[in-house]
Symmetry: C2
Subunit: 192 residues, 2 copies
Amino acid sequence: MPRSGAEARRRLQQAAMELYRERGFDQTTTAEIAARAGVNERTFFRHFPDKREVLFDGEAALRTALTQAVAEAPDDLQPLDILLHAFRKAGRILEDNRPFSEPRQAVIAATPALRERELAKAASLTDAVAEALRQRDVADRLAGLAARTGWAAFHQAAQAWIDDPAQSLDDHLRQAFDDLRALSAGKEAASS
Amino acid sequence: MPRSGAEARRRLQQAAMELYRERGFDQTTTAEIAARAGVNERTFFRHFPDKREVLFDGEAALRTALTQAVAEAPDDLQPLDILLHAFRKAGRILEDNRPFSEPRQAVIAATPALRERELAKAASLTDAVAEALRQRDVADRLAGLAARTGWAAFHQAAQAWIDDPAQSLDDHLRQAFDDLRALSAGKEAASS
């Protein structure tokens, strides 16, 4: 039975994740992923350039969501408030993908080459966010610092959300930005 | 004439940097580096595991300086003040190495594989700094966020110092941490 492209893509992602968890990323081949997804290897390569990119498929959507949200944030917000606004908007993509986000994180944590790819992606997204701030006339020097600082809070929140699913990512984001302000004000943040 | 190990090491580093700048990192071989330094290739491998690590030689010294300075910072400092203190102490290593730091940055910026190595190194140093804060009883969650935020300010300062040598790294560090506080207080930092 022929399947739609979107359906094949979803099945490939699920098959890849299962195999990476069962036997490890390095020990899995694209042929095995395709076989488990019930498609041929050519179909795999129509959707993904290699087995690594199956895990980084959401990068473009996250980049678009973040830079658009920075551009469209209310005029009267200060840089870190713009970023909290943007991360909350983009966070919905992650919340919708929670069943994928959680095992994905475990696979990346277990594989040095994937951790490097994740760091490179974070650096590139941070640069894109800084550029979006500059487009809003945030001073050059502050835009870079704000983007990196906001990313630190986002990273903290995403990690806490993976570890503690009882709270939403949105709650963790607000907590992390509160912590950031408390740190910079020289007070210990209230524990919650 | 036999040379001391430290002298050979220094010559190898200088030869590597010259070649990376002249013809690019990817186009340079360890044999060429050794030849330019006037030693044989075996001597190269006695000092460095590969041509990449010539550029990351200072990592262990920086890690020791940072974690020690965090441990030894005055008791009454808040987390970000501890980090400013630590980065200022460790910054002396970079200031002493300025003739090496500047071309090094240019070579790394031009080579994707080196940028990934630099990011991995920054992540690992950030984890070490967070752990040193936890040893001082900073709460787990805040230690990670403080370390990442402090690293963002350090990165900003080091970049500004490479671009603008008229000010010392120490001045740039104090400026970046001031910017951080101003950002988090919701005010635009005064430009200087």
